[in-house]
Structure formats: C-alpha cells, structure tokens
Subunit: 493 residues, 2 copies
C-alpha cells in the first residue's frame, strides 16, 4: 500500500511556481463559498515523523484564510478527558459548519500505538477500527467532510531526514527522543498503519497517502485534495439545497403494543409511597457515594408524553443525592453552536465525569421522536439515528457509565385530566403550552414512534424501563427502586 | 451581624399554607417573563452546614420551572481547572440570559476557608474580597443579577441539628466527618464569614442572611427575595428597553500621539529578516518547550488596523512552535451562546492551560475599539471595560500566564497600498472586504481610541508593545524577538 509513496514523487520548481498562484486563488474562492455553507471540513494529518506534517499545516494556514481554520493537537489527555469516554476529546473540538478543523493526531493514534506496543490484540484493534468507520460515516452524514492525509516516508528516507534535521543547529529542536524510539519500530508501525488505513479507507472518508520527501510535491498534493473536497462539498450542498424539505413521518399506530399493554392500574397511596421512598432514599444516597468512590458514572434518560411526570420523578431521585454529584440537563431547542454540529454533539458536551450522575430530561431520542414526527430532519437522518444512538450508548457503557432509560407512560385520559388540572392551578399553568395540546393530537403517531425507538435501542447495557405513570406515586417509587437495584447490581460492596 | 439570624424566626403553618400558593404563582409568572428577558440570575447559596442549603435548592427546583435552572457545585478542582486562573471554573458555568444558575460553593469558598485554616493573612483575604466586589459589579453591569444567601445557624443550633440528623437512621447520610471538622472551628468561621459578608455586601449584590432553624421561615424568605430579584430585573429591563440605543463614539484625534510618533522608516531586507528569524526560531522553540516544562502559560494579543500584518506576524511565531502547544484564536462576531453572557466570557472559555500558548488575533480590546466606535455598546459599557480588562489581565498574570500585547501600526498610505495590492492579487482578495474600506474612513477616530486603550491598559505584567509595521519584515522580527526576550526574562534556565 505504501509502495506508491516511495517512488520519489517530485515537482519541478517552474511547474510549482506556475501552479501555486492558481491553486491559492481557487482554494480561497472555495473557502469563501464554504464559509457560508452547510458543511464542515475535518482534516486529519497523520503519518511518519519527519514527513512534513507540521510544515503542511503551516502551509494551509498561509495559503488560506487562517480565520476559518482551527488546529487541534491531541497531546496527553487531561483528567477531564480521561474521566470521559475516549471519543469525548474529539467531539469537544468538532468544527462547526463553514469551518475547518485540522487534527494532529486523531482517533487513529491510540488504536495504532496501543497495538504496536502490544496493549491490544488483533481483535481489539479491529473493533476500534470498525467503530472509527461508523463514526466517520456518521460525520459524513452530518455534513462534516473528513479528509485524511497520511504523510509517508520510507524507512531509509525517514532515517535520512531525522539525521539531517539533527545536524542543522537551527533545526535540531524538531527531533525528539520519542521520534527515535518510534523509528526503531518502523516496520511494525508500517504494518499496523497499513492495516488501519486499509480498514478505514471508505467512500465517505478515503485516506490520501502522500509521499513526504519532496516539499513541492507534498504541498501541491495536499492543497489539490483539499480543493477537491471543498468543491465536492459545495456541489453536494447545491444538491441538498434543491431537494425537498423533510416532511413529517406518521408511523401507523398499532392498537396493541408494548405501551398500550402496560398495566395502568398499578398505584400506591401517598402514605405507602412516602414510606418506601424514605427507605430507598437512604440506600440511594449510599449508592451514589459508592458510585463516586468506585469511579463509575451514571446517566439516566427520561422520555415520555407531556405531563407523564418526568420532572417529579427526577426530583424524587435528586432529593437523595448530594448536589455536588449530579446534574439535570433539560433538553430544549439547540443553540446555534449546537445546530452547527452533529446532533449528538450537544450530549457529548454534557457527559458526566466518572463518579457523577447526569439526568437527561428528554434526550438524544428527540431525533427519532419529535424530529421524526415534526419533519425537522429527513427520513434517512432519523433512520440512521438508531444505529448511531446504539453506538453512542455502547461507548458510554463500555467506559463504565451505567445507563438507564425510563419511558414514562400514561393514558390519554389521564393526560387530559392533568392538562386541565394545570390550567386551573395557577402555579402549574407554566407547564402547559399550546404545543402540548398540539402534540396531544398526534398521540397515536408518537406512541408508534416511541415503540419503535424502544424496540430498536433497548440493549443489555442500556435498557429501557417502561414505567406505568398513570399513578404518580407508583411511577416515582418504580423509578427510584430501579435505579437503586441497578446500582446494587453493578457496584461492588 | 449574625445576631438577627439567631432570634428564632418562625412562620406558623397556617400562614405558610396561605402564602405558598400565591408565592409560587407569582414566582412562576416572574420566571416566565424572565425567560425571554435580557438578564440572567446567579444565586449563591452559602452558609453553615445543616442550615438547609440543599433543601432550599430542592425547593426552588420544585416551585419553579426546573428547566430554566442549572445547579452547579464546586467540588475538588479538576486538572483543567487547576491549570487555569481560579475564576475560570465560575466563568465556564455562568448562566446565559433568561436562565438562573444556583451555586453551591462559589468564589467565596476559597477565600474564607483559606483564611480560616491559616493559608492566607488578613491582607490577602482583603485583596480577594476586593476582587470579588469588582467581579460582582461587572456581573451586575453585564446583566447577571447576583443574589446571595447565607444560611445561618447559631453554634448551639448547628450542633443540635447535626446530632439530630445523625440519630435518624434514614437521614444520617447527610452528616459527614468534614461537617464535624468544620464545626470545631465554628467561632473562627463565624468571624471570617462575617468579615467576608460585610466587605462584599454591596448595592449591586447584597447578602441576605437567613436563619436556618425553621424550614417554613427559610423557604418563604428565600422565595420572596428571589421574587423581588426577578421583579427588579424585569423593571430594569423595561427601563433599559426604553433608553436610547447606544451611539458611536468618535474620540477627537490628536495629531501628535504615541502611534503617530512611531518611526515608520524602520525596515529590514528579506535576507536580513530571514537570517534573524532563523536564529530567533531556534531560541523560541527551546523557550516554548521550557514554558511547558515550567508550567507557565503564555497569552499573546494582536491588535492593529486592517492589513497591518497581524496574520503574517502570528505565522512567524507559530512556525517555531510545536503545533500541540499553541492555539490561534481568531476573534470574529460572537455566537449566540457568547452574546448571552458577559463579554469576557468568550475569552475565559478559550484561556490556555498552563504550559501552552494562546494567540489572539484581535481580542477583548474590541470592546474599547470597534464596539466603542461603531456604537455596539453604551458609553458606560466601554468606559468600565478598561478597569475590567485590567482586572482580567491581572488575574491571568498573577496565575503565571505571561502576557504580551502587540499593537501593529502602519501609515494610512501604506494601508492603501496594501489594500490595492490585495485587490489585484487574486489569492489575497479574500482579505479585503467592504468593511475594511469603511473602517479606513474612521482612521483618526480608531487611532485616538487605540491610544486611549493602550494608555489605560499597559501594565508591567501585561505591557503593550507598539510595533512599527510599515515594513513587514521589521515588524515580524520585532514581534518574535519581543516574545523571545520576554520568555528569557521570565523563565528559569
């Protein structure tokens, strides 16, 4: 695979001097159109030390409008990064629409290095790479175009280059002991990198291997590929602009489904609930402190129709927790910074650190519920979301975050009763909006979409718990008890 | 000062039951108006353990629309927090407009605890408190209303409360060993807290001391104060809405000023510059690595007229740095998340960690330059900004961040020449906008505002360096040399 990048590709000076002004002009023109467009560009610069990675990035800054470019390097992880799943550090610096992010080091660095140094076996490497493919496909679908450069040098050329730099008194700082340490494993690195590149060169995000010996060749190759990416992105933007607006999807309701079959008669009296909650709270407090000590995280999701009692159930949980240990995220309309990035970004940015609890009052399931039903996204967008959500939750669970998702269900009649109660109790009126009445009319479609979402995303590590919420006391106790049981099952004594 | 909160304030049950529904309704109504308003509310909950802090916060969540409230607790600092100035952790969670943040622990916690445990002397405590006063005044001016509650218990009442909680099998988790450790120093805490409260109870952000023994009294007091704050904020919002829009300020130009007196003949040939830069680059690289090892940060600010060569000078710096160690922030229009918070927030969120370099291409000085001249803010806003900027830069410097601010100056004629050159060089056209031509017409006013800004914000720890930028080579060498000299002066060998 790397052979084609060891043949001594070169560009003559006169050709270069003729091509560069044209290329710069075209690049800038494309960048300007891009700045106002609906897509982002992520450029990954990987490869062999000494092959001109930093020089290439500097060149891009010089040839383009640097104000639209952010460069990110992934150095040692901070503790805030270590206390979240590995992909968090990349999500937090995703470029917004109209902007380009350049990444030195990327989601490829760890899988390759870990395998070279024997930390992972072949199956683990393969699994990481499969996830990378999924991740990049998602980015592409979310209009983040991924452009991957691998700067290559043959073993001989790298040795030559490192030695030459070392000899130059003014350049020797560019060579570090790590460079030589890695050079000793050149052949192994080459094999593992080749495997990684082969596995992850996809239609959406192909690798471009660039021979790193000749600076002029390197510069022209990288700039030309970047120009192509901009143009491709702009062309697609045109196509997307002309396609019909997304339309609401109304899944056909099924009269008998897992939600309609819930036993809505389940109830507890105030007194019973109070007694039970008091005991459960003492346990829950102990367990959340144990969660902290054992460095695990917990993430709870609450979904369900309006007035199903999500807020009340959440308060019954937080009452028993130390305010320093939990956060409740109420999910409403995204901000413009959020809208400019893939839809999961706003949840990644609010992930709990290890030891803490984060409770989402509504969540990323909005994608397959309200966004689907109201036509806020295209059909292909909410359809691919099931797999993306599963991948997201998998990564959280694997990292040690305990996940529970609650669906609170009540009957249409009880919802009506609560709406009316809200209308008549002054301090509850704020909870009721025109939208609630509108949503109510789509009850059956919501129920069908909810059933589909629950079916397609309930996994052993991230199960859905259906809660009969016709009686508030019953629902609250069930929620707290479920959390207690789950923590008891997972945490060590 | 605390005596008034030890008299046994109580509210009878029937009074409470009569008042609560009215209060809740009024609170919600106010919160709803607040949600769409131009101000934010920050509620600090401090005081004695066992005085009902957590219970009060839970109550607010219950009585109000929890979706507009975020609670933040300041637990042990993360390494990302420790590697930035102490105030960073508060800036990162400031509430946006229309939202309320509740803070358990706050910018008061460290000053009080450090003094109680003998880490700071009286002068240091006083200095911290003076800064807090400035900070809160700034928040108030930026429309973050600060509401501060101190929940108080007498020594006897606290002891009684802690013991009672311990005895209750289901409540005993609320009492930790730290609570008893702190209780032993009750009298000292009381003295220091009293001092802190007295020093920081200002017209903009008064303290409310709440007796913590009776739950009903506590709840009514806190909720009533909160309601007053909302109403006050809404009233002011009305006043603000009716006041005239800010208007541009055109300071009278002085024909002889520090910028006009720069020697614009200073120049270097390409060859000279290249030779000098090459040597400086080797030094600079070594120094930035030493910066990293010595855990200091560096922050560089670039300001100056359009086409003064800021971008080029920045590239001459970054060429010699490791891409993993620096970030260039190009400051353009704020996002909506930024606009919803005090104007310094967007800079706090981009501060370098220790060991790193952050370069701002334009900066917080926009407040006293473009915002002043274009009428984007009121006169009182840019006038108070000088002091706010000095306080901000002080805090950075004290924390170990090396600050240098460059003003690149060129003549009007040279700017014209460069604009024309940009017009005629295809790959430079992107740098020139209509706005540049418009700004050019305000040259004299810009120059006068710049002189005022430089005069009022040049301090020993954050000096302005005026750079003669008529000749690009001269300017670039001067910038790199200044940074090298500054680092050599500050870093240990």
């Amino acid at each position: 695979m790397f052979e084609a990048a060891e043949v001594g590709n070169k560009v003559e000076k006169e050709v270069y001097d003729r091509e560069v002004p044209k290329l710069r002009e075209a690049l800038l023109k494309a960048q300007m159109a891009f700045a106002g467009s609906d897509f982002a560009v992520a450029v990954i610069v990987g490869g062999v030390e000494g092959a001109g990675k930093a020089e290439t990035v500097n060149l891009l800054h010089e040839w383009m409008d640097a104000r639209g470019i952010q460069t990110h390097a992934f150095w040692e992880a901070t503790d805030e990064e270590r206390e979240r799943p590995p992909m968090w550090r990349f999500w937090r610096v995703l470029p917004p629409k109209g902007r380009m992010g350049i990444y030195f080091g990327s989601w490829y660095t760890r899988p390759i290095i870990d395998h070279v140094f024997g930390q992972t076996d072949a199956a683990q490497l393969d699994r990481s790479l499969a996830r990378v493919v999924d991740f990049e496909r998602m980015l592409h679908n979310e209009r983040v175009l991924v452009l991957k450069f691998w700067m290559h040098l043959s073993r001989k050329a790298q040795k030559h280059r490192l030695k030459a730099l070392e000899k130059d008194r003014l350049q020797s700082w560019r060579v570090t002991p790590t460079d030589w340490k890695f050079f000793k494993k050149y052949d192994l690195f080459r094999d593992v990198s080749e495997q990684a590149l082969r596995r992850t060169s996809t239609g959406e995000a192909p690798w471009h291997i660039v021979e790193g010996t000749d600076e002029r060749y390197r510069n022209l190759t990288v700039a030309t590929k970047l120009l192509e990416t901009f143009r491709q992105g702009l062309k697609e933007a045109g196509v997307r602009a002309s396609r019909p607006r997304p339309h609401p999807d109304r899944p056909a309701p099924k009269p008998v489904n897992m939600l309609s079959q819930l036993d809505m008669k389940l109830a507890l009296s105030d007194k019973e609930a109070k007694a039970k909650l008091s005991k459960l709270h003492a346990k829950l407090n102990l367990l959340t402190r144990r969660l902290y000590e054992q460095r695990k995280g917990m993430l709870l999701v609450f979904e369900g129709p309006d007035a199903a009692g999500k807020g009340g159930a959440i308060r019954r949980l937080t009452q028993a927790m130390d305010a320093r240990n939990y956060q409740v995220m109420s999910v409403a309309a995204p901000t413009d910074e959020e809208r400019a990035r893939p839809y999961l970004w706003r949840f990644w940015r609010n992930l709990p650190r290890l030891g803490r609890v984060t409770i989402f009052d509504r969540s990323w399931y909005g994608r397959v519920l309200v966004e689907r039903l109201e036509g806020f996204c295209h059909q292909e967008d909410w359809q691919r979301a099931y797999a993306e959500i599963n991948a997201f939750e998998d990564e959280l669970a694997e990292f040690g975050i305990i996940l529970v998702k609650f669906w609170l269900q009540l009957s249409q009649r009880e919802q009506y009763r609560r709406f009316k109660e809200r209308e008549h109790t002054p301090y509850k009126q704020y909870k009721l909006t025109e939208e609630d009445w509108r949503n109510r009319k789509k009850w059956d479609a919501y129920e069908a979409a909810a059933c589909e979402a629950v079916e397609r995303t309930s996994t052993p590590s991230a199960p859905w718990v259906l809660v009969e919420a016709e009686n508030k006391e019953w629902a609250r106790v069930k929620v707290v008890r479920t959390v207690v049981k789950r923590l008891e099952g997972v945490l060590e004594r």
